[in-house]
């Protein structure tokens, strides 16, 4: 294995379990994330209150809720991006297949290689070509073998459904692509490091309907290999793409269930009010 440098040093129980798979009875998949009593403060302001939940693997979980409800904070806690705010502080634990991501001796950059992220605003690196953008995560994590880099580049671009559009333009700047293509390039960049989870923070909110549709189709394809958590403001989008939905309000996880259930028969009054557009 030449690529050990970016492979996760921690064991991955999910992959181990799958290895012997005797096609007969699938044991129930362990959850990807186990979040226990997670609270987050920014300075004195508490942004998240005592969230306890599981996020299943190889499914799409949508997080909905009004602005400032803590959904982005929750998402960022899943790969420790919340730490970029210097005044942030957390209590409780977040485990990914058993490993405590917030533990003191867990390296944030290793967490982020396991849990990739796509942002609201597409942000290809302006100094890099399309190809360089895709492999930058591998290259700057120590992979030098050109053959491996090229192979992963093509694989990632194919996964992001971008290969056919850019295969002849890999040396053009990443910024030369259209908005929707840029966002798919960012998805390719995130999957190139082969994470286990993909977090998406309103990945389509800046895109036109056609580009949005492409991103949504893409999430359905990626679901086969990745656990996906997607924050969205768009309720139709949540109902279209996700298997499970979480509703956050005022920093609390109000309701969590099967997406169909949530949208047709929400258990909580607040969820119903939000989904039917009475506030938010």
């Amino acid at each position: 294995m030449e690529v050990t440098m970016i492979d996760n040093p921690v064991q991955n129980p999910q992959r181990e379990q799958r290895a012997p798979a005797p096609a007969a009875i699938q044991p129930e998949e362990p959850p990807a994330f186990q979040v226990e009593n997670l609270s987050v403060w920014y300075g004195k302001k508490q942004a998240l209150f005592d969230v306890t939940t599981n996020i299943p693997s190889k499914t799409i979980t949508a997080i909905i809720g009004p602005s400032g409800c803590g959904k982005s904070t929750f998402l960022r806690c899943l790969n420790r991006m919340h730490e970029l705010v210097p005044s942030s502080r957390t209590e409780g634990s977040v485990r990914l297949f058993g490993q405590d991501l917030h533990a003191r001796d867990t390296d944030a950059s290793i967490v982020r290689r396991r849990v990739g992220m796509v942002f609201q605003k597409s942000n290809p690196f302006p100094t890099m070509s399309i190809g360089e953008n895709v492999i930058v995560g591998l290259r700057l994590n120590g992979v030098r073998n050109r053959a491996i880099l090229n192979e992963r580049m093509e694989k990632a671009l194919r996964m992001a459904a971008l290969w056919d559009e850019v295969k002849n333009d890999l040396n053009r700047p990443g910024m030369s692509l259209s908005g929707g293509q840029q966002q798919r390039l960012c998805i390719a960049r995130a999957v190139a490091v082969e994470p286990e989870v993909l977090l998406m923070d309103e990945p389509a909110s800046a895109l036109d309907p056609i580009a949005t549709m492409k991103i949504e189709e893409l999430t359905q394809q990626l679901k086969a290999n990745y656990t996906i958590v997607i924050v969205t403001h768009n309720m139709q989008q949540a109902s279209r793409v996700s298997d499970k939905t979480m509703f956050f309000y005022m920093g609390k996880l109000i309701e969590y269930g099967e997406t169909k259930q949530m949208f047709f028969q929400p258990a909580e009054k607040k969820t119903e009010d939000y989904i039917t557009g009475r506030f938010g």
């Binding site: 970016i6 991006m81 950059s109 290689r113 690196f125």
Partner: protein
């Protein structure tokens, strides 16, 4: 009659017009010296800027001809030494301010940076005289380079900080979210995006110190011949201009004018280069 008639209105318009004309003339006055200086230098110095000026050593007094080749080479050498001191320290200081420092520490760093920027350049000459010239018992190119390098530090630090601030936060987040270590994100993504701006800051700082005379006087000292070792005194264009300008010889005066013209053209060239470099970049000064 709360509001006065059209009379008042036209008065206001006239006054407004006068103010705009007045400020325009002040703005012209600000840049007028550049035109006057440049015209004067071309008038007095252009005739002495010739091939010999760039290729020959100075001649002894009363002999005509000769050039400032050693001073031009000396100034370029000093600038290279200054860059070797000022660029790494200044750029890394700017990186600290933009990427690492807390707002309290940054406030003090910026404050002292601004104070340093305001310190008269001759002070740097004296400081380096005490730090390097006295202990080594000789004026040297090294000492001159260090003095100019100190002068560049606060300028480079601030411009670096400012252009790094202009790099959108999204690029840092995207890099970190790929699991790339922070220092690599800063070097390969943030600084790479701001390279045009950082280069601009360095070039402007070089242009700014290229004409400094006072700090050179106490450190590089000047030299009428070629410099062969950096631990020896070295000539510099501004110093040579100074020496020639206060001399009693007409020929030296002409050469001083020519030297001044070359120096101003160098500054102009750097500024034009900077404009060219930063044209159409996403991040600039």
């Amino acid at each position: 009659m709360a509001f006065q008639s059209a009379n008042n209105h036209s008065l206001r318009k006239a006054f407004s017009f006068l103010v705009s004309v007045g400020t325009f003339f002040c703005a012209i006055l600000v840049i007028a010296p550049l035109g006057i200086v440049f015209f004067h230098l071309v008038d007095k110095g252009a005739s002495s800027v010739n091939w010999d000026f760039f290729t020959k050593l100075p001649k002894p007094p009363m002999e005509s001809g000769g050039g400032m080749a050693n001073a031009i080479a000396g100034t370029l050498t000093l600038l290279a030494l200054a860059a070797a001191v000022g660029v790494p320290i200044g750029v890394l200081g700017g990186v600290y301010l933009s990427e690492y420092g807390s707002s309290r520490v940054n406030w003090w760093l910026r404050f002292f940076g601004d104070v340093l920027n305001g310190v008269p350049s001759i002070i740097w000459g004296i400081v380096v005289y005490g730090l390097i010239v006295k202990p080594t018992r000789t004026f040297s190119a090294y000492a001159g380079g260090v003095a100019l390098g100190f002068l560049m530090l606060p300028i480079i630090m601030r411009t670096t900080e400012e252009v790094l601030y202009l790099v959108p936060q999204g690029y840092r987040e995207a890099g970190l979210a790929l699991g790339i270590p922070r220092w690599k994100v800063i070097v390969h993504i943030v600084m790479a995006s701001a390279l045009g701006g950082i280069t601009t800051g360095v070039l402007l700082a070089l242009a700014r110190v290229a004409g400094e005379t006072a700090p050179i006087l106490f450190t590089a000292f000047g030299n009428s011949f070629w410099n062969h070792r950096l631990s020896d005194p070295i000539a510099a264009l501004p110093l040579q201009i100074f020496t020639y300008a206060i001399s009693p010889y007409d020929d030296w005066h002409r050469q001083a004018w020519a030297g001044a013209l070359v120096l101003v053209c160098f500054t102009l060239l750097v500024n034009v280069t900077v404009r060219f470099l930063t044209r159409g970049r996403t991040v600039k000064v």
